[in-house]
């Protein structure tokens, strides 16, 4: 793993970011995005890829396309990469509809797309299929701590995994899309997505770093890889994908993106920074 013990006894997990993309869509925006998630020069996206996909899959895939276009990276570059997706509560709307139909009419009334299109691994699978990638793809998290779990899993995978790089795709509805039995959620809900193309640290232009405070052996928090996360709603909103996307889009990276990754370890930080101002300007 890309750990390095610092003089302050902290653990740093680091990677280079070779591209990032940010996307947002309200419920009203979803049909348009589903039809046209974004251009991708020289590559044909499978026609019905997003027809029955979960909303978070649609927005997450659009964020990947946004990143590839923004940084001018061709599909071929990612052929051997893996995809790790961390959606928060994926498939809630479709599950609400399926459960209602199941209660009313039994199992035959449930569309078989519910498992492949609306579960934890659907987002990573769709991206992998769409871009013809050959590396592993899987979902992590799925619950309230999805973003932090995604970040920790991605940084761990980069070191141990067999692929040259990894897409990390984080998605979340804000406010959380808690659907009624028709599958409709609050009209004001917006799905946020951030896609990060990560490689092992090699002194690239843009770097991402997660600093986990050191803990003494025997301390209840002596397992720094997956610390417990805050349970209160406010912390989750602040720690969410929306805030991360806003931070990345702002380009104002002098301060840490977040100190809230691990509220039980209050000094845990997520940072992005360019290696130099000249490199930042070149990337912009």
């Amino acid at each position: 793993m890309n750990f390095c013990a610092t003089t302050t006894a902290r653990v740093v997990l680091a990677s280079d970011v070779v591209a990032f993309g940010v996307e947002r869509a309200s419920l009203a925006d979803l049909p348009r995005l589903r039809q046209a998630p974004g251009p991708l020069a020289g590559w044909e996206i499978p026609k019905r890829l997003l027809h029955r996909a979960d909303g978070q899959t649609v927005v997450g895939f659009a964020a990947v396309l946004n990143a590839m276009n923004r940084w001018g990276m061709p599909v071929a570059h990612f052929e051997e990469w893996g995809v790790l997706a961390a959606p928060q509560y994926p498939g809630r709307s479709a599950s609400a509809v399926a459960l209602r139909k199941f209660i009313k009419s039994g199992v035959a009334a449930i569309m078989p797309h519910i498992i492949p299109q609306h579960s934890l691994h659907s987002l990573s699978g769709a991206i992998s299929v769409a871009l013809g990638m050959r590396g592993p793809n899987f979902g992590v998290g799925g619950g309230r701590a999805a973003m932090a779990e995604g970040l920790f899993a991605a940084l761990s995978f980069l070191d141990d995994g067999p692929t040259p790089g990894l897409w990390l795709v984080l998605t979340q509805w804000v406010p959380e899309l808690a659907p009624d039995t028709s599958g409709d959620g609050p009209d004001e809900s917006v799905c946020h997505a951030v896609a990060l193309a990560l490689v092992s640290p090699r002194g690239g232009d843009l770097q991402m770093k997660v600093t986990v405070p050191g803990v003494a052996p025997g301390h209840p928090h002596a397992r720094p890889a997956f610390p417990r996360l805050a349970r209160d709603e406010d912390s989750c909103e602040l720690a969410g994908v929306a805030a991360l996307g806003k931070h990345l889009d702002s380009g104002q990276w002098s301060a840490p993106a977040a100190r809230w990754l691990c509220p039980s370890l209050p000094d845990c930080e997520l940072e992005f920074h360019f290696a130099s101002e000249a490199r930042k300007q070149r990337a912009a």
Partner: protein, 86 residues
């Protein structure tokens, strides 16, 4: 329901399943190769057919369906045996 009417009904269900519009589908069109239906699409379509037309199709019968004409033949036969049983 005659074959023409059944074909229109199936076309409607197919369009609903795929989200695409088809001007015309003749019996020779391959469901998997030409319409790009995968196994999940096909099961979903058959569930629609079972619910809407009140017939039962088993998995062995599904395996033999390759083209639009095969599907029409299968559903037509099912409707006919259902009407005879009634």
């Amino acid at each position: 329901m005659d074959r023409g009417e059944l074909a229109r009904t199936l076309l409607e269900m197919l369009e609903q399943e795929t989200g695409e519009q088809y001007q015309h589908l003749d019996d020779q069109v391959d469901l998997r190769q030409e319409l790009n239906l995968d196994s999940v699409d096909l099961v979903s379509l058959l569930l629609q057919i079972e619910t809407r037309l009140n017939v039962k199709v088993n998995s062995t019968e599904v395996e033999r369906v390759e083209r639009v004409g095969d599907l029409l033949d299968l559903v037509e036969a099912k409707l006919e045996s259902a009407s005879q049983a009634a």
